[in-house]
Symmetry: C2
Subunit: 440 residues, 2 copies
């Protein structure tokens, strides 16, 4: 049997061959600084620097420079993955059955480590080889639904995801769903699925990765492990996003799908809950539910109602000094049905916009207000500007993020018979997107 080179080549592959170790083996590496024990991890073939990646018992990957290695001892040979064939679903009857729907992004390219770059295929055996701990919590059946960087996803992709989830739940009776997803728009998709999948009986957990797996600091394996633990063991249902809770590797946060935002371009803890706690923190394999005003739905208590249509005729407009009201006129003239204004402060735009906004409302558009502050609540009764905008018919959206508001407007338009009904839906809390207004 030839050794699994797992993306290593050149000097690093020769080095590993010398010690007779292969990807997946448990090893102890001796350097001048001491000993490091863990599992030899695969690397992207496109990465060619002279180090090896070892996964520590903590789950953290560490890179070790070959030139600093004095010796490597193999302590255990690679375990066979629990699933040998992609099509076979293990049914041992003891572990929860989880469907992993892959849509693309860094996390999928990471698990697909052999070819480097992005490869669509994601087999069960590859999955378990990358994150062997998964087998301890669940039988995970992966399926590739699409392979897109998330910046390319559109509302029709949300529909496809919602329908796939519905089929996994209704037809295949999975105990939980994981959706691997690019991080760029994962919070938009999380909001979309929160509205499209009403009365969920199981957890649906979106998961991504901020760092590709050839970097020692990759978050892919731990995020996926956290998502799996939550999907398998949580006693609540709903749509969540599982990502690093901090910059260390000891905790994964599980955010409510409508209340999460990507707040950093590169940090592993880029995703944050806005205005509320995460639903749960996953630490040491255990789920710690967090205090929250939202009543969580119990697992198994409801029957899924699928409302998977979205109407893309929604324009998100961020206000700024010098903003030309012609942008509002353009929305009306171009056949949009709703405008989400990302206003300043408590929910304001310049009075120069008033006449265009009046025209938009008169033309039957739904015009809503959120705040570019991100945190806090739109309150349009405090200043003249806000009161004038209320008089014009602009709807204040409380503490809904503008991203969630944009997605919700697309959903509300497609799932109501009139603009008036859509407006009612917008101001009603459906999936945790509006919190109670007791706090300022």
């Amino acid at each position: 049997m030839s050794l699994d080179t797992g993306g290593y080549k050149g000097a690093s592959m020769e080095f590993l061959s010398r010690y007779g170790v292969a990807v997946g083996d448990s090893i102890t590496v001796t350097t001048a600084d001491g000993e490091i024990s863990g599992i030899l991890m695969p690397r992207y073939e496109s990465a060619s620097r002279n180090y090896i990646v070892v996964k520590l018992k903590s789950g953290y990957n560490t890179g070790i420079e070959i030139s600093k290695i004095r010796s490597i001892a193999k302590t255990d040979t690679k375990k066979s993955p629990p699933v040998q064939s992609e099509s076979r679903i293990e049914e041992d009857g003891t572990k929860p059955r989880i469907a992993l729907i892959s849509t693309g992004g860094t996390i999928a390219s990471k698990i697909d480590y052999r070819t480097g770059g992005v490869r669509a295929a994601l087999t069960a055996s590859e999955l378990y080889a990358s994150v062997p701990e998964l087998a301890g919590y669940a039988t995970v059946d992966p399926e590739v639904l699409m392979s897109e960087y998330s910046e390319n996803l559109r509302p029709d992709h949300w529909t496809a995801m919602a329908e796939k989830v519905a089929s996994k739940i209704r037809t295949w009776k999975y105990d939980g769903i994981i959706i691997s997803h690019g991080t760029d728009t994962m919070h938009y998709t999380a909001a979309a699925l929160s509205f499209a999948l009403q009365d969920l009986p199981v957890p649906v957990v979106l998961v991504g990765a901020q760092r590709s797996s050839d970097r020692p600091s990759s978050d892919a394996a731990l995020n996926l492990l956290g998502a799996t633990i939550f999907a398998a063991k949580a006693e609540v249902a709903g749509v969540f996003v599982a990502m690093h809770a901090g910059s260390s590797d000891d905790a994964i946060a599980c955010h409510i799908g409508t209340r999460v935002r990507k707040n950093h371009t590169s940090r592993r803890d880029a995703f944050e809950s806005i205005g509320v706690n995460p639903a749960a923190i996953i630490r040491n394999g255990e789920i710690e539910m967090q205090p929250n005003e939202f009543k969580m739905i119990s697992r198994g208590s409801r029957q899924l109602a699928l409302r998977s249509s979205f109407d893309g005729r929604v324009m998100l407009l961020k206000y700024y000094p010098g903003f030309n009201p012609a942008l509002i006129d353009n929305a009306v003239d171009s056949g949009y049905r709703a405008i989400i204004l990302e206003g300043t402060g408590l929910g304001h735009v310049s009075r120069d916009c008033f006449s265009s906004l009046k025209k938009a409302v008169k033309a039957g558009l739904m015009v809503c207000m959120t705040s570019q502050c991100i945190w806090g609540r739109v309150r349009m009764t405090v200043y003249d500007t806000g009161r004038d905008l209320l008089d014009i018919g602009v709807l204040p959206l409380s503490d809904m993020t503008s991203e969630t508001a944009t997605v919700k407007a697309m959903w509300a338009l497609a799932n109501s018979d009139s603009i008036d009904d859509a407006k009612k839906l917008m101001q009603q809390n459906i999936a945790g997107e509006i919190s109670s207004a007791t706090a300022i």
Copy 2:
């Protein structure tokens, strides 16, 4: 002499008359809970609830319900404000001379406490009556330049402010400038002045208030005091924003003008430095400079160069799933000269936008990329999407906020001879808006 009713009326005015105390008097109030000592503060006439407002020695305002008051003892009569006439500038030669330019917003309406609502006038005596501590640090000469809620401010207002500041420095030789400003767009104005006022010899400090003064939790007085201390005593020059550093009243943060953002709709510490420390924290009357990579300009070391023109033909477009590339075409067709894309993650938009972006670049527009993540840095070499956008000619703006980028583009277009020159300006750090790329 009749007592100064300072906005009190009805029950509260009668109550104060009974004890012979007036606004500005030092008093000790006895309640069932103990004694509270401080200065009796004025209130809005529009406020009619049954309490009085006392400013504690800490500078914090507290409201006391009249029904809970057992007695009031006057410990000192109101001090005469140091400046009796609005037009007279006190020149005692010992204290720094500070110009306070009022532009409107909550803070101006607060200092103008007598009429309730918003009144434009701001006299020196009213100012000192509201915040008597100011006199200990500086001679402050107020002037009303405009009276606008900041959501109504446009680039031509920035020009007017820059020119007024220049005149205060060049002609009137002030030691520091304070600009009171509505908070909604204060960070946009701070960025604008950072570019318009090159080589400043003194500090220019923008200051606002999140809470109006008839609320016990008003931040107006302390923010203004912090701004005054910094404008009077700081050894550095530049444009800054002074606001509460936290939700308690013990510290004011002085943020770098290009690196600050309003991140909460209502909290007193809504303004945060993005990606760097604040320039300084002001605590107990002292300025604590904070470590920062930016080399601060020393006070008095330069001669002001005024570059106060802005070209408003800049469109800020926030990307979202379902974003229609026709919005980009519309910018080209409408005669815009630049587009700031607020992309996802490391600086991405959907590939559906590529052909419109090519057309825009070909038509001579400057197209720049920032991230809606807010924190972190645009890095367009990591993924295919970013590399494709770079090939199209989209300029990555590193860790510039999209608000600062929008303002800077307006300034760069008006202060360069060609789009190519403007592009060079955009990618060059001029006023701290781009930090070094050593951190991820």
